[in-house]
Subunit: 286 residues, 2 copies
């Protein structure tokens, strides 16, 4: 089996680790526009060599794990180079624009639009970890546009990696992911920004910060290069989530201002049931 | 050694575990206005019996681990009942009002105003864990108002529990903790509220939520009973943090609206340095 990984960062690299373990005989080759990352990926043994266009044509599987702006731009070209039976899939955190970018492509049947709900706040090949996808959910969009035999092979791979599957249409995906992921990242970044601006003496942050603070700003360590194109592509949905979130924060501020502590109590109590919803979600590995 | 723990929840219970381990011969007794909690604390072995007023007078140490509203109200009465050499300390997340409540009390010298930066999002005696305070920071306010010998004994205890000490004045504590803790809790609650309101189908939250989302709403599982009095007592500071945070979120929304993605990138990049600040902070135990 020949596997090409385009973009050997956290996601590409972690897929590399799991795929090599699941398919020990597979030849894993990589491509990365960052020569430093490519070198690191090779020395870390994530891939065994650099992939050529010929490798794309012969590949059984091509993973495209690059920022979503580049994805939309590069995917059509990649699809034009793969073989008849090559499975190509992505891991982009937005899906509408990506699906639009390949709509009607002669090799659309080779492509499976995916969003594996997995990651950490770290980046680059050195961030790659084993088992990142185990127990996680993979969102698949427009599955009906992927050739059936190629779908089947993909599902087999995801199953081997321990992923459960959820099918969604790309617009619905982008709407919901704005609330359940994109907003969290913005809240973290802006919380971090607020604290850094006001807490001039970083000693104070360090001394007073506990695991609660750490949880809420953890995502502020995320890669701006990865997240800017995501917010750009999902701009309308993200702006909507911000409007809702800001309105809720303003509402809470008003309750405080009015001294309505019964209201404050109830606002928090109603949200407590997030406990039950979160129960099934894997907690971050430390 | 006789130790009385008033309020045997997450904090009181965790102190109980660590103190019993550090002082195996100590007799730990408890008080709790919730009879259910008291029963649980007894059956979990957190304390060996129920404390009486007589026990307060004879105690070497009294820990008052109750919500900050009750603290301000009950502390003067507690101080009036303890012995000459009894060390009394609290664990309240606000300090100004609590210090004011006991200012000038004849037994002020027995009291050490503390805020151990430790906790989880869980509550009650069943939430008590061992080692919660190990490696954590304990903020001590107005240390000069506590009798020297009593201070010394307190520091010895905190050292045994693995805590490092930071001294602050109560007003400064409340100002800074608003940014580094209280705002995080509100951001979490309001994020949870926003998602619950918009994601009517909880299946969608469950399927799309990863560890990033879990991190940012984890604190929304916190106890409204604990947090309402904290926000009430620290109201002015908390409103200020909300104003700053909301302004930052609105600023980010404006950047998106204007399509200023260079600005978006930079806003996130500037916050990335939170990485270095957070490096020293213990991550949540799972």
């Amino acid at each position: 089996m020949k596997i090409v990984i385009i973009g050997i960062g956290l996601i590409g690299g972690s897929f590399a680790r799991d795929l090599q373990r699941a398919y020990p005989e597979a030849a894993l080759l990589g491509m990365d526009q960052d020569p430093g990352h490519l070198d690191q990926a090779l020395s870390l043994g994530l891939v065994r060599g650099v992939a050529t266009p010929g490798d794309l044509r012969e590949a059984d599987m091509v993973l495209v794990c690059i920022p979503v702006g580049s994805l939309a731009r590069e995917l059509p070209g990649i699809l034009s180079q793969v073989g008849e039976e090559t499975l190509v899939f992505d891991a982009g955190s937005t899906k509408s624009l990506i699906c639009q970018a390949v709509a009607g492509h002669p090799a659309r049947r080779n492509f499976l639009a995916c969003h594996p709900i997995a990651g950490t706040e770290f980046t680059g090949p050195q961030a790659a970890v084993e088992g990142l996808f185990n127990g996680k959910t993979n969102i698949i969009c427009e599955v009906e546009l992927t050739a059936f035999r190629i779908q089947e092979r993909a599902l087999e791979v995801f199953q081997k990696l321990g992923m459960r599957i959820r099918y969604m249409n790309p617009e619905a995906h982008d709407r919901h992911i704005a609330y359940v992921s994109h907003l969290s990242h913005i809240s973290s970044f802006m919380l971090g920004k607020t604290v850094i601006e006001k807490e001039r003496n970083e000693r104070d942050i360090f001394d007073l910060a506990g695991s609660g603070f750490e949880s809420t700003v953890r995502l502020a360590k995320s890669s701006p290069a990865m997240w800017t194109p995501i917010f750009e592509q999902n701009r309308e949905n993200v702006m909507e989530t911000l409007d809702e979130y800001i309105a809720n924060l303003q509402g809470f501020r008003t309750l405080l201002e009015q001294g309505d502590f019964q209201g404050v109590f109830e606002a928090m109590e109603q949200t407590n049931r997030i406990k039950d919803i979160l129960r099934g979600i894997p907690t971050p590995k430390n």
